[in-house]
Subunit: 532 residues, 2 copies
């Protein structure tokens, strides 16, 4: 270590193969230092120089796909190397994607609660109060090296992964890469280069103050003003838009098509949108950004958009664009000629093989769904294929979620999709259809109790879709908190043919956020199922 | 309706069998009025006078067991009547047990967050601030009729249950009861009388200011002072103790044996207790209350207890006792002579039959586990038995939870239990064993993000216990938020033989509160499993 407590370069494997061992705290310091002063820290090597075996695979990119693929291949007894330009494994998720997104969504939920109970109980007066976005971003910047450090520690000390970090990589051929001035060869390459935000194609999209989910955590250096324009209507747009709204700002969502169109169940989608609007969000569907106009200093001053009711102009110094992501396939196309689809995704088969022999691809690079489970699983399945296992992977029937001020989770069919396919669809939902509509104190559970007692309309919405003939669950939908994790496991049960009778026979942990078990039990006695 | 908008007695079925239909809002008003002025509202009848069939069963008590049993029996085509002294169905849970408990636990979690971030971001300055307990209790009192109303509405309009509410019942014989001046006969009786708090056997336990979970919501009429003494160390004691602590008061827990002894996994239990102590809770195990001493006005002034380090005296005006519950079996013993066990629980077989022919029992009345799932399921299984179905029920292998400032969920074996039974136990946990201990930024997910970024030790703990030979999951343990619902479903999978390979192949909704899926995937490649 040097005098600042930062594990030194020479002793920490930067220059060769000396064995080293860092605590998580030491890793955190090293990563922080490397991020703050990119030039000052050289490549970070954990390469077993005494292992003379050829690498079975080199994973290009140490994000979810590369790291999980590496762990799996290593666990199977193979030898791998994972190379990343960043000084940590784990990729964009903990650095500027899913982890900050979860932090901002947590703030959105907490701020909605504080605003709803403003000035009562222990909650501060929130009316007209604008909360700093930059403080939350700074909190994240300070905190993110913690998870990074855990992943480096785990990867090295527990998973025995060989890595080369803080080092850009150049693909030489289907078996060779170059990084940190050294060539590495392997039986196979696994491309895991990830994806990056698609940038708006409109004049002014490069002005200062125009952000996406990466730049907001990397470059935000001043407090946004009182109006935010969000361009987009998918997961990321809504998640960040709700956070900005919860800070007390005016938020205008400019959505080209339909907002949260990925929520297929119409009633669930309506509940979600209505709550966003109740929080004051302005949602303009069918809007097309014509231009972002700057001021004399090169900073955003206003957004001009065409809408169904004509051209609008919105004064703002802060624009957030969330138009989806594009696979970062260009380097692989140029170096290897791997085939890509129209959206730039590297085309793979169910063994994660690209069009080029010995070259595999995984993660966001292979296209939708650009979700963590697919990144990790495709990395692991690539490893299994490379190690000769007969394992096939195509993502299918996965559960999904997004955040507004709430957690919204779903799996299987929407009510509409179910009715199009089955003659006897039965729906169990909470609140039930009733003359009071949603203004009733159920559902309720952890984190919606205060709403259930004082603002029942805000306490969530949920429905379970069944086939009345087979008695099987066809879909499940939840708006609230605390059910996201459940949907992972529930989805497996549904895919295995879960029936209302089996659900009704489970042991609920009351008050359970999904009231599915008890609602099922109330109807399971019926020979001819009826909705509830 | 009368001029106050309260559905009138005559028109609302109180006097006979006129059909009536209330909205949820109308039910809420009626229940509120009946609770506020018990004498002014007569019995509330929903009895199908034109149905000339004999009742298959009369459920005595309209709590979870009676209501779910009624729904199930009705769904099967039988005829039932459920009678309750309260003007609503649902029993103690929404009135003074699990629902307020969840509200208070939510406040505990929110207050811990506010105190941890006191004066930063948007959180108010919380140091030395004492938050009103009575305001939260009042919020609950105002809000609880909402869920009551939903249950009356659902029971009548959707489940077609016949009921007689706001009417004490007298058991006449194994087929007959009397209520509201009328005798009702049925093929079978289902006793669902519930349980009540066990009262402390010590001088002064009847002083003003000595509360349990029922009296705190029913009679609290002044703000407790700055010191609370909690007597007990089980679920209820800890849940309420953490709430009182979170309000900013000194809380002394006097525990006869071990606190949260029901958390069997030692490491999980330690994590839970350490976090409680960090919040300032004083936990004294091996303590026996000698006396509660009052002041001249008959109000609690101090608690005297014998502890392992001698006699202590604590000045306080507020004592909360949580010593468990005793089945309310006395009326049934006196009227019918049903056999009870040493704890007063009515003894039933796996058809929920008592020792008296045609008399069944369900819910808390039949003893441990006094949990919602058992109440509801035993009611439903009693209905199935009465309707001649060959269905047997004994609670087994259920998942469980409690609240501190956190949600704590568990299922299956603790690590210690597993090691006593299996030779090759493998543990996957987060945080991992490491030189930094718990001071690292994982686990993290919804509602622990702020902690993960700034106070990582507070961001939770989780472990999965596996049999390395069969690769099966033996147990799972979680401290954090948002995993309680998941444990309902995960438990089913574990009971069906869930393996690490199956877990690793699931689709996580990242950041998922239980990191079990991804941790499993990191190890599943190993032929010989190792801990993580």
């Amino acid at each position: 270590m040097n005098k600042d407590g930062i594990p030194s370069a020479r002793k920490a494997g930067e220059t060769g193969g000396e064995p080293f061992s860092f605590t998580i705290e030491q890793w955190a310091k090293k990563i922080e230092y490397a991020l703050a002063q990119p030039g000052a820290v050289g490549p970070i090597r954990n390469i077993h120089r005494d292992d003379k075996r050829e690498f079975d695979a080199i994973f290009i990119g140490g994000g979810a796909a590369g790291r999980f693929g590496s762990a799996y291949l290593r666990a199977m007894g193979g030898r791998q190397l994972v190379i990343d330009r960043w000084p940590f494994l784990g990729g964009s998720c903990p650095h500027n994607a899913c982890v900050p997104h979860h932090l901002f969504s947590e703030c959105a939920a907490e701020l909605m609660l504080a605003r709803t109970f403003s000035g009562s109980l222990w909650f501060p007066e929130m009316a007209k109060r604008i909360v700093s976005i930059k403080e939350v971003v700074d909190l994240f910047r300070r905190g993110r090296t913690g998870p990074h450090a855990v992943m480096n520690y785990q990867s090295k000390e527990q998973l025995d992964i060989e890595f080369l970090l803080n080092a850009p990589v150049r693909i030489v051929d289907a078996n060779t890469v170059e990084a940190a001035g050294e060539a590495f060869r392997a039986r196979a390459l696994v491309l895991a280069l990830g994806a990056e935000p698609i940038r708006l194609q409109a004049p002014g999209s490069d002005l200062e103050g125009v952000h996406d989910y990466t730049t907001i955590v990397e470059t935000l250096d001043r407090e946004p003003g009182e109006t935010v324009v969000v361009i987009g209507g998918g997961k990321t747009a809504v998640e960040y838009g709700c956070f900005f709204n919860a800070t007390g700002r005016r938020v205008v969502m400019l959505v080209r098509n339909r907002i949260v169109d990925l929520i297929k169940d119409a009633e669930t989608r309506t509940y979600v949108i209505d709550r966003m609007r109740e929080q004051g969000m302005e949602i303009i569907e069918g809007a097309q950004v014509a231009a972002i106009v700057g001021d004399a200093s090169g900073r955003v001053a206003r957004v001009v958009a065409e809408t169904q009711s004509g051209r609008i102009e919105i004064d703002t110094d802060f624009v957030f664009q969330a138009l989806g992501e594009r696979p970062r396939s260009q380097p692989a196309v140029e170096a290897l000629g791997v085939a890509v689809d129209g959206k730039g995704a590297v085309i793979v088969d169910d063994r994660l093989r690209t069009s080029v022999p010995n070259v595999y691809a995984a993660g966001d690079l292979i296209g939708a769904p650009m979700e963590m489970f697919k990144a990790r699983k495709s990395g692991a399945y690539a490893a299994r294929a490379i190690m000769g296992e007969d394992a096939s992977y195509r993502p299918s029937d996965w559960p999904d979620f997004l955040h507004t001020h709430y957690e919204v989770s779903w799996l299987g069919f929407s009510e509409e999709e179910a009715r199009a396919r089955y003659r006897n669809v039965v729906v169990l939902k909470m609140p039930p259809d009733n003359p009071n509509g949603l203004d009733i104190g159920l559902p309720a559970s952890d984190r919606t109790m205060l709403y259930a007692m004082a603002h029942p309309r805000m306490s969530g919405f949920q429905k379970l879709i069944l086939d009345g003939d087979s008695r099987r669950v066809l879909g499940a939908h939840h708006v609230g908190y605390g059910a996201k994790d459940a949907f992972q496991y529930l989805n497996v049960l549904v895919r295995r043919g879960l029936t209302i009778d089996e659900l009704g026979d489970m042991d609920e942990l009351f008050l359970n956020p999904t009231h599915f078990i008890q609602l099922s039990r109330l109807r399971a006695g019926l020979r001819e199922l009826r909705s509830l």
